[in-house]
């Protein structure tokens, strides 16, 4: 086991897969000579050259479209979009094409394309660079959606994504890039649709998405140490496919659930999980499912406002205490 940063794990996955398969290449804005806005692609241009590490103009919709076209003919493109907000310029190609080509052409072709992008607040990037939009992509049939929260998951899931024959929306997190974590030494592949139980517990199930899986874990520590509440923490790791089994099993044990996400509350990941859990495990529930989510506003720039516009450990602790019927003791 070696300890590496999340950004290094993503870069390693790309390099390993490019080494393994000549059909894998990467393109995006400033990923080559500049080595990526977040330095994820550091060293790749030098190592693999211009043909396989392609700097593009600022043309998101067409970059993704060219990814779709080349993937239809058997290449395995990785398209990097600088932030998830920029994917909004490419939604035509992502939804109308990447997701639907296989279906609308009767299965004659597949689209083995990975679209990578970071999301998240906390860096004062304001209302056009800080959002968390996994819920939006999650709704689209034809796409797979990954939201890794640790270096090991980023490595294992990205390698699987590149090998998958379906289009994958691979959502990284800007605030996680510098985080360290252990990764296995050899080849590390993680299947989609397998959640991780980050911490076992008996009183409440916490489902945290993307960076919020880590926030949920920290909240669970506080809950145990300061409130005597035992929280089980689940990181779904992929939202499509979703490992609902693991979540339902946990809810059957704890009888309570709190979801934690950075995105907006309406039509969010938590809203959908709450619907699924009550559909499938209503009799196991002793309390309403609660959602902790980002504030229902465009992400503000000012630190004072940004801090209260996305969830922190205290918000999760409060929601859990409400769920288990305890008062906040401090």
């Amino acid at each position: 086991m070696a300890e590496i940063r999340y950004r290094e794990a993503v870069g390693r996955a790309i390099a390993e897969e490019m080494e393994r398969d000549e059909n894998v290449f990467i393109m995006g804005e400033d990923i080559g000579l500049f080595e990526g806005a977040f330095k994820v692609t550091e060293g790749l241009h030098e190592r693999f050259g211009e043909r396989r590490v392609r700097d593009t103009p600022i043309s998101e919709n067409s970059i993704v479209g060219m990814g779709v076209g080349s993937a239809m003919l058997g290449l395995r493109p990785i398209v990097e979009l600088m932030t998830i907000n920029f994917s909004l310029l490419a939604l035509d190609q992502i939804i109308n094409h990447a997701a639907h080509v296989r279906y609308m052409f009767g299965g004659q072709v597949s689209v083995p394309l990975v679209i990578r992008m970071p999301q998240g607040a906390g860096n004062q990037l304001g209302p056009t660079h800080s959002h968390s939009l996994e819920a939006m992509f999650l709704q689209v049939p034809g796409l797979l959606v990954a939201v890794p929260s640790t270096p090991a998951d980023a490595l294992g899931l990205l390698k699987s994504a590149i090998r998958d024959d379906n289009p994958v929306i691979f959502i990284e997190h800007e605030s996680l890039y510098g985080e360290k974590g252990e990764v296995p030494d050899g080849e590390h592949l993680l299947p989609f649709g397998v959640a991780a139980v980050r911490r076992e517990g008996t009183d409440v199930t916490l489902v945290g998405v993307s960076r919020m899986a880590r926030t949920a874990e920290k909240a669970a520590e506080v809950l145990a140490e300061e409130h005597g509440v035992s929280a089980e923490v689940i990181d779904p790791r992929t939202l499509r496919p979703l490992d609902l089994d693991t979540i339902l099993k946990s809810v059957a044990k704890t009888n309570r659930c709190v979801t934690v996400e950075e995105g907006w509350p309406h039509g969010g990941v938590g809203a959908n999980l709450a619907a699924l859990i009550q559909e499938h495990a209503f009799d196991h529930l002793d309390a309403p499912i609660l959602r902790v989510a980002g504030a229902d506003v465009p992400m503000p720039y000012s630190k004072a406002l940004e801090e209260i516009a996305y969830p922190h450990v205290d918000d999760v602790v409060k929601a859990v205490l409400q769920s288990v019927g305890k008062e906040l003791t401090r």
Binding site: F25, R51, R54, T56, P57, S59, N61, S62, I63, V64, G65, M66, G67, V68, G69, S70, A71, M72, L73, G74, L75, D92, Q93, N96, H97, R102, Y103, M104, F105, G106, G107, Q108, V109, S110, P112, P141, G142, L144, D164, D165, N166, F192, G193, R240, P241, L242, D243, L244, D245, L248, K249, A252, N272, L276, H280, A281, F282, D283, H284
Partner: protein, 366 residues
């Protein structure tokens, strides 16, 4: 033109806008004729496409076909000229007005018609409809419903050829309306930067849906529009199958040998509305009549008859065959089965029949 592209200016027969507006309509076809057999085949193919589309339009009015149906009647010379200018191994990608491209590539007319009828035997098993005909085996890569959405997809095919170093090119068909989409500017720029082997064929029928080119494009010379993005091009007479074929063949040759993108603007006109549900209030009857006099099929027929390549009897026989082929396609489509309800989720994902969506588990734990 910039000095960097001067080498090929010599090769290209450039036609200025004023040349063209005088030339069409009212200009007899003068493009270089191919050998006898090819000339006859072009005429036969144009007739087959025309009769197929008339039949499709009829099926639409009888509610056998739903949704949108966009007919290319009047534009057959562009379709046939372009497809006959590239190799069978080249990639062809079109728009939502693409029945003719599929037929020209040799797709079974019954499979195309069945797709329009929403039948299981359609090219996309009834999932795509008229706008999304597709035939991978013949490298006819759709059938795309979003205006301009197919442009980067086509460039992706060309990127693949360039990446693998083979000499396939891509012919990417778009309309004049699509040149106003961001993807046109984005993709032509990238294709020029990356020297991608792609020919953009702008089927300029003078209307983006119901908005005339003078009202939808500040620059009406679409070759110039491409030039501004680093892609060289030329115009051709889209009512003349031979002129179109020559222009696209020339562009394809340069594209293949020099590995760079080119654009051909084919000046044409659609005789029917934008789609079957179009009252056509945006253009005059006189204009339509004037262009119909320039119908590419009678014009080419007349020329081949004058050259002694076909006789009127032979043309009539060809036409009867075309009508019979369209009729047979419609009959086959009509009697084919609809897709079975249990196939609704087929091919959402590349995993056999399994759907990976929300539910990996569907039951509450005991």
């Amino acid at each position: 033109m910039q000095s960097t592209t001067q080498k090929s200016v010599v090769k290209l027969k450039l036609m200025s806008e004023s040349d063209f507006s005088e030339a069409v309509p009212g200009h007899p076809p003068v493009g270089p004729l191919p050998d006898r057999a090819a000339a006859r085949e072009w005429l036969e193919l144009m007739l087959r496409i025309r009769r197929f589309e008339e039949r499709a339009g009829e099926a639409y009015t009888r509610a056998k076909v739903g949704g949108f149906v966009h007919l290319a009647i009047g534009e057959e010379a562009v379709v046939v000229g372009a497809v006959r200018a590239i190799r069978d191994t080249d990639w062809l990608i079109s728009t939502y007005r693409s029945h003719g491209h599929a037929l020209a590539r040799g797709t079974d007319p019954a499979a195309v018609m069945s797709e329009l009828y929403g039948k299981a035997t359609g090219t996309s098993g009834g999932r795509g409809g008229s706008m999304h005909v597709f035939d991978l085996e013949r490298r006819f890569m759709g059938g795309w419903g979003i205006v301009g959405g197919n442009i980067p997809i086509g460039a992706g095919f060309a990127l693949q050829s360039s990446y693998r170093g083979n000499d396939d090119i891509t012919l990417c068909v778009l309309g004049d309306g699509a040149t106003n989409q961001g993807t046109f500017a984005e993709t032509l720029n990238m294709a020029a930067l990356w020297k991608l082997p792609i020919v953009f064929l702008v089927t300029n029928n003078r209307y983006g849906m119901g908005t005339s080119i003078e009202r939808h494009s500040a620059v009406t010379d679409l070759v110039r529009k491409g030039n501004g993005l680093g892609v060289e091009g030329r115009r051709c007479d889209g009512m003349d199958v031979a002129d179109t074929q020559a222009a696209v063949a020339e562009a394809a040759e340069i594209c293949r040998s020099e590995q760079r993108p080119l654009l051909v603007e084919a000046m044409t006109y659609r005789f029917r509305g934008h789609s079957m549900s179009d009252p056509e209030r945006y253009r005059s009857r006189e204009q339509v009549t004037k262009w119909k006099e320039q119908d590419p099929i009678p014009a080419f027929t007349k020329r081949l008859e004058a050259e002694g390549i076909v006789t009127p009897d032979e043309v009539e026989e060809m036409d009867e065959k075309a009508i019979a082929s369209a009729h047979a396609a419609a009959e086959a489509a009509d009697s084919a089965p609809f897709p079975e309800p249990e196939t609704l989720y087929d091919n959402v994902y590349s995993l056999g029949g399994e759907v990976r969506g929300w539910l990996s588990g569907t039951k509450a734990p005991e």
